[in-house]
Structure formats: C-alpha cells, structure tokens
Symmetry: C2
Subunit: 249 residues, 2 copies
C-alpha cells in the first residue's frame, strides 16, 4: 500500500456517511457505489423508507459489500454515537449559527483532523430538519448554479466522497503529520509580508490594501501547512536581516 | 447577474458535454440533471442506444429542458464540429501520448481558456475506443480509490460538471482575464527562488533539493496566475537588489 492509498484508507476508517429517512432505495444503492469508488465504506442508514430493496441492489452494482455492511439505525442519535465531528449537508441557506463550509473546505477539514467523523444527508425532498441540523457541528453546502440547485442525493454523496478522496490525497502530499497553519499563524505571516512589501516600496500608496488582498487570496488557496509557513517566514526574515545589515553599514 | 454567475455562464456557453453510444437512458437523464445543477446546458448525444426513453426523462427531473435541447448526432465528428479543445474522459491508463489530466486540472484548463470545448464520455461498459480517443487533445481521469474505479456515467458527469463550476468560480475570483502562469514562467520562478534561498543559506547542503520540492508543491497547489507570479518574482528581485547594495558597499 503506497502512502497516498494509506492516507485515504485512514480517512475512510474514521468517516461514515449517514443517510437519514431516504425515500428512494435507488439512491441508497447509488450512494454506496459513489462511496466505494472513492474508497469510503462506512454507510449508515437512519430509518430508510424502503430498504432492503431491489433498486438499491441494482444501483449499487459492484458495491454490494458496502450495502451489505451498512448499519441500519432507527434514530440519528444512534447513528452518530462516538462521533466527535458531525457535518450536516444542507442545500438551503440556514439561519443556524453553525459554520457553513463548502464541500471542498469541509473535506479539507475532515482530512486535516483525526476526528471520528459523520457526514449526514437528509431526505431527498425536505433535507435535514432543524432538530437534526442542531446535532451537527458544521454545515456543508455543495456549490451549485443559481438556476437549479436540486442535486440528486447519490450525486451529492458522490461529490462529497470525491472531495474527501481528493483532500486525503492532498493531505498525504504534504509532509506527513504536519498540521495546517492556524488562522493566527497566517495573520502573523500576512503582517510580516506586508512590512516587507512596504520596506521594498511594493505597495501602491494609493491603494495599499489591493496587493495584500491578492497575496491573501493566493496563500489562502494554497492552504499552507506549518512547515511551509515557516519556510515562507524564513524568507521574509532573510530579507529583514539583509536590510538591517544595510542600515547598520 | 453577479460576477461569479457571469463567469460560469460564459464557460457554459462554450462548453458541451458529449455522451457517446450511451447504453442506459437513465444515465442520459442523470447526466442532464448533473449538468443543470452546475449551470451547464449543452448536451450532445452520439448514437445513443435507446433514446428518447422514459428512464431518461424520469432521471432528469427538473432538467427536462437540457434533455429537450440535447443535440443528437450519428458520429463523434459531427458532435465535435467547431471545437478547438476536446477532452476525452478515460478511466483506464492509456498508452496514447496525449496529456493525461485529473478532473480538477482539466477543469482549470477549460476555465482558463477561451476555447470552444467538448468533454467526451464513452459507453458505460467499454469507454471511448482508440479511434475516438485520437480525436481528443487531452485525456481526463477522475481520481478514484484503488479497489473499485467503476464510476457510474452520470456520477462521472456530475464530478466533471462540479469541477468546471468550481474552476469557473475560482477563475472569476482571480483578477479578471488574467491568464495562469505557464510552465516555463513557473520554471523561471523556481530557479530564481532557488538562487535566493541559496544566497540566504536556506538550503540544506546535505539535501538541497528537499526544500525546493516543498516549495514547488506549495506553488503548484496554488495555481498562480501571471500577476501573482509577477508579485512573487518582484519580492525575489527586491531581495536581490538589497543584496547587491550590500556587496557594493
């Protein structure tokens, strides 16, 4: 097993997909297949309307094993037992004060954590109700076009499973076990970068914030881990050192 | 229409999804729905085995309009007429000398280009044949787990449509119209970065390439556009300038 495969396997062991009150058994089969293509295997069904069902088996194709090993629970509480990170998929804008993450960011958080994680999908028509959403620590939204946001349930599971898979690969492509830089560490870095850019006469005095916004956007996209941040800060420090030597002379 | 929506609309206008010899009409409907959720609307069917069909309409749900406006062609050539960028989806490792892109990278290329683009999906069982793949300028692969790579066709279209949607959003989040840095430009940047890191005694003489690999990984992840690259190079030049002043004194 190579390093990348191992990263995904470790994520898969602590990550379950929970489908709540699913109406169409075909979607349960489709979700099982979607999971298996991305190496996920822990499926939990909460009070499915019709299950087991021939449509579920038909849509699962080669993922019958995921379906067979699916846990069936009567309540969401039972499905979430021992989870420390619960993410609820929600298509609608909610007024709950939970952090709302897009699918990619949510997957990165899961990959960067070591938590026992559940990602919860509600019924096809209505989604999770408020009581169910309150059991979640974060909400996940899949970005869609403005005209038609009605993702099929199995398609939504496919996108989330794919993003988890991609995030696990990227997480392994980093130095192993290196934590991501925290928001505070990034703020120190941006402040340091701004001082160096000012010293190098880089910032437009008319619009000093414009360039910094660009730099923030760039490094936010890159999701620096702590080692990478330290290298970048080392480069800024090397500039400061040269500059102090210049001033002393 | 806000800027982001407009970016996706522009990509959608010049991007078609081509399904070749699809066996199951349900997959055609599922693909139409998958496209519509991500604002894509140009579906082309090449010699579908059974179409029109009630299963297609049933799976399309609210995307009947995409289905109704789908073009039906008898040959792939006809479907690709006037395309300047043709990407073939392929699950298998191929020996063709075409560039092989993962879905995310392919979507970024499409979003960064202004080309009339087709993304082509083969039949469920066999995929595109070699003659069809030869019509493509690049191959697209969706990363899957090692144990089971058999993505459902509509699920594959969903992932690709989602990545196109995400890439169009990111492309708009950059300065508008700024092209991505080319591979050559990135190589100049890495060479310059290495010279600065050497001058600053940053590279481990035992293993000078280790840190550079990390830096490459970081900036490859960030997908720099040309403006961002110029800012980074400007910072390196500011270091060089200070250093020369120090040496002159």
């Amino acid at each position: 097993m190579d390093e990348e495969t191992d990263g995904i396997a470790r994520l898969a062991r602590r990550t379950r997909i929970v489908l709540v009150r699913t109406s169409h058994p075909g979607n349960i089969g489709g979700a099982a297949r979607a999971m298996k293509t991305m190496s996920l295997e822990r499926l939990v069904l909460v009070a499915p309307l019709r299950y087991p069902h021939a449509d579920a088996t038909a849509r699962a194709t080669g993922a019958d094993d995921v379906l067979e090993r699916a846990r069936i629970c009567t309540t969401l509480e039972e499905a979430l037992a021992d989870c420390t990170f619960v993410i609820g998929a929600s298509a609608r804008q909610r007024t709950l004060p939970w952090p709302l993450l897009d699918a990619r960011t949510a997957a990165e958080r899961v990959a960067a954590s070591e938590e026992e994680t559940a990602i919860v999908f509600g019924p096809e028509q209505s989604g999770l109700d408020n009581r169910e959403l309150e059991r979640c620590g974060a909400l996940l939204r899949i970005p869609t076009g403005p005209a038609y946001a009605s993702l099929n349930l199995a398609a939504a599971v496919q996108i989330v499973a794919y993003e988890l898979h991609m995030a696990a690969r990227v997480a392994v492509a980093r130095a192993p076990e290196t934590p991501l830089a925290t928001a505070d560490e990034l703020e120190y870095f941006y402040a340091h970068l701004q001082r160096v850019m000012e010293a190098a006469d880089f910032l437009d005095p008319e619009n000093p914030k414009h360039l910094m916004r660009r730099m923030r956007r760039l490094f936010n996209r890159a999701h620096l881990d702590r080692n990478e941040l330290n290298i970048m800060r080392g480069l800024l420090a090397a500039y400061d050192k040269l500059r102090e030597e210049g001033i002393e002379r």
